[in-house]
């Protein structure tokens, strides 16, 4: 398997704080990979570096063999590297269906003249987008909510909507930043199915940050662990979970019942 995403000695420093330091990391095509680590380990910062929301201090990021270091977020998204956010990031004041349509932006190319004349090709493009939006809403169990304003749908559905929005861009690599945060067990189960389907049916590589260890262990092909901005280890879930360095990072050295 080829590496779809390659980070090489990636670092970002905020003043004296080394938020991400010298991280080498590969995401291979077709896998579900997770990035875990204690709070403040630099996981989200790593996502921000890869997706272009932050510019690295040093190091490079390659996506499909192309150097994308320092690109703008909309440029990386156009190449097929699309991320979701840790906080619930949605278009609040539009309906679910309209909001998915916004996600298709980069795949719609109607010119101004065509738009003003409402030409046949523009109408076809709009009809196609409608159809594909319906498919995505069905895929993410949002179809019944399509005419509701996004701000009025349940929180769990809003989390799914951010995944659906990212899917609308037809990504090659999907970065999910804590998709299960705040979901109840039923919703988490639904999310796990959807993530599996994204990889198995849509053939999209998934790279996620997650704190819910049940979810991580049950869906990931591989794990990478960050701690204080540095990569501790990576490998298959069962090995990583036994790694003494990982246990130390999460629980401290030796056995300390009072974690203060």
């Amino acid at each position: 398997m080829d590496a779809l995403l390659e980070a090489r000695s990636l670092s970002i420093h905020f003043g004296g704080l080394k938020a991400v330091e010298n991280v080498d990391l590969d995401v291979r095509e077709g896998e579900i990979m997770s990035l875990i680590g204690p709070n403040g380990a630099g996981k989200t910062t790593f996502f921000n570096l890869v997706s272009g929301f932050l510019k690295p201090t040093s190091g490079t990021v390659k996506f499909m063999g192309k150097d994308i270091t320092g690109m703008e977020p909309h440029e990386t998204a156009r190449l097929g590297l699309v991320r979701t956010f840790q906080k619930t990031n949605i278009f609040a004041d539009v309906t679910v269906a309209d909001s998915i349509r916004i996600g298709f932006g980069q795949h719609r190319h109607a010119g101004l003249i065509g738009i003003l004349g409402n030409s046949a090709s523009v109408r076809k493009e709009n009809a196609d987008v409608h159809e594909k939006a319906d498919e995505i809403m069905k895929f993410c169990a949002l179809y019944d909510w399509r005419d509701f304003l996004v701000k009025n749908i349940p929180y769990g559905k809003q989390r799914l909507l951010s995944v659906a929005l990212a899917l609308a861009t037809s990504p090659k690599l999907l970065l999910l930043d804590e998709p299960a945060t705040g979901l109840n067990p039923t919703e988490t189960k639904e999310l796990i199915d959807i993530i599996f389907n994204i990889r198995n049916k849509l053939k999209i590589t998934v790279f996620l940050i997650e704190h819910n260890m049940n979810l991580v262990v049950s869906i990931s092909d591989r794990l990478a662990v960050l701690c204080y901005g540095e990569k501790l280890t990576e490998g298959i879930p069962s090995e990583v979970a036994k790694d003494p360095r990982v246990i130390e990072a999460y629980l401290g050295r030796g056995f300390q019942p009072n974690v203060s």
Binding site: H74, F85, F91, D93, Q106, I115, N118, E125, A166, T169
Partner: protein
């Protein structure tokens, strides 16, 4: 709403607006109608910037003024006709709003509002002080009316307000059609994405800066067209018309009618052009009533009259389908 009901409402509105100047034939009424038309275009074009792309601009009167001055200067100095000046004014205002947009749209929220407000002040200062070109505070007098046109044997000389009313109506309908197409297209979707959540829009591959500049440019161009129409209607322009107060006036129309719609701002423009005239009866209380009613609207109908109706409709449809 089904198609026949929609068609019925549209044709009723068309008939109403076509016969309106024959129902109210006094020059005073016609003047208010023509001004409503100019404000309708200004409000719609500002709604594209504020309501659709979510960038609060207090500089709209500047582009309106640029359009009016370009038209006035071309016609009084070079003797050019309104029919040519109109388009040049739109292009000039569009160009200036493109350049301004490139500079100021990096800013957001209040900072953007204040910066655009000062841009408006800046343009006004230029109008007052660049006397060789703008004739300063005295303004430009003697702007010619549009040259007469021959419409299927019918000679229209633009000597009565009635003629301006119909030309203005055409202007409003054409602008509304243009902006309707844009806002319902992929471009409109992109703009709504930018308005609702710029960070998310970026992460979905939307070049937010490009889209904001696009909205600002098109909005500014339409304001320029409206300025040209104004100059050739009033036949006299001076810097006092194009102040920040005028920007706020148009912004209030947009908020009042409903920002993220096109019909809302038209509604706001008509109502806020007519309402102050009615309130003249209330004498000294006029400004107080006007202010209080605006505050009430913003508190209870923050999405504007039209926006609230639209949301009510969406909710009703959802509860109907849930019940049935």
């Amino acid at each position: 709403m089904n198609k026949t009901a929609k068609l019925g409402i549209i044709s009723a509105a068309a008939v109403l607006f076509l016969i309106l100047p024959h129902l109210f034939t006094m020059d005073y009424y016609l003047h208010i109608f023509v001004m409503s038309e100019i404000y309708a275009v200004l409000a719609m074009s500002l709604a594209l910037i504020v309501g659709f792309s979510g960038q609060v601009s207090m500089g709209h009167a500047a582009f309106y003024g640029v359009g009016a001055y370009v038209s006035a200067i071309l016609s009084t100095r070079l003797g050019m006709s309104f029919w040519v000046n109109f388009w040049i004014s739109g292009l000039a205002a569009g160009l200036i709003s493109y350049l301004t947009g490139r500079l100021v749209l990096r800013l957001r929220g209040h900072v953007l509002a204040i910066t655009t407000a000062f841009f408006c002040v800046l343009v006004n200062v230029i109008m007052v002080n660049w006397i060789p070109v703008t004739n300063g505070p005295m303004g430009i007098v003697g702007i010619p009316r549009p040259t007469p046109i021959n419409l299927f044997g019918l000679k229209i000389a633009f000597e009565t307000r009635m003629h301006y009313y119909y030309l203005g109506l055409l202007f409003v309908v054409a602008s509304a059609w243009f902006l309707y197409r844009i806002t319902t297209s992929r471009l409109g979707d992109n703009l709504i994405g930018v308005r609702e959540n710029e960070e998310l829009a970026k992460s979905l591959g939307i070049d937010t800066m490009k889209n904001k500049v696009f909205a600002f440019t098109v909005g500014g161009a339409f304001a320029g067209l409206a300025g040209s129409f104004y100059a050739h209607y009033i036949l006299f322009i001076s810097p006092v018309t194009f102040t920040i107060g005028e920007s706020i006036n148009v912004l209030v129309m947009v908020i009042f009618g409903g920002m993220s719609t096109l019909l809302g701002p038209v509604f706001g423009a008509i109502l806020l052009s007519i309402l102050p005239e009615f309130l003249r009866m209330a004498g000294a209380l006029r400004l107080i009533i006007y202010g209080v009613s605006l505050i009430c609207f913003i508190i209870w109908l923050p999405q504007g009259v039209w926006g609230s109706l639209k949301n009510w409709w969406i909710n009703k449809k959802n509860s109907d389908s849930a019940a049935g």
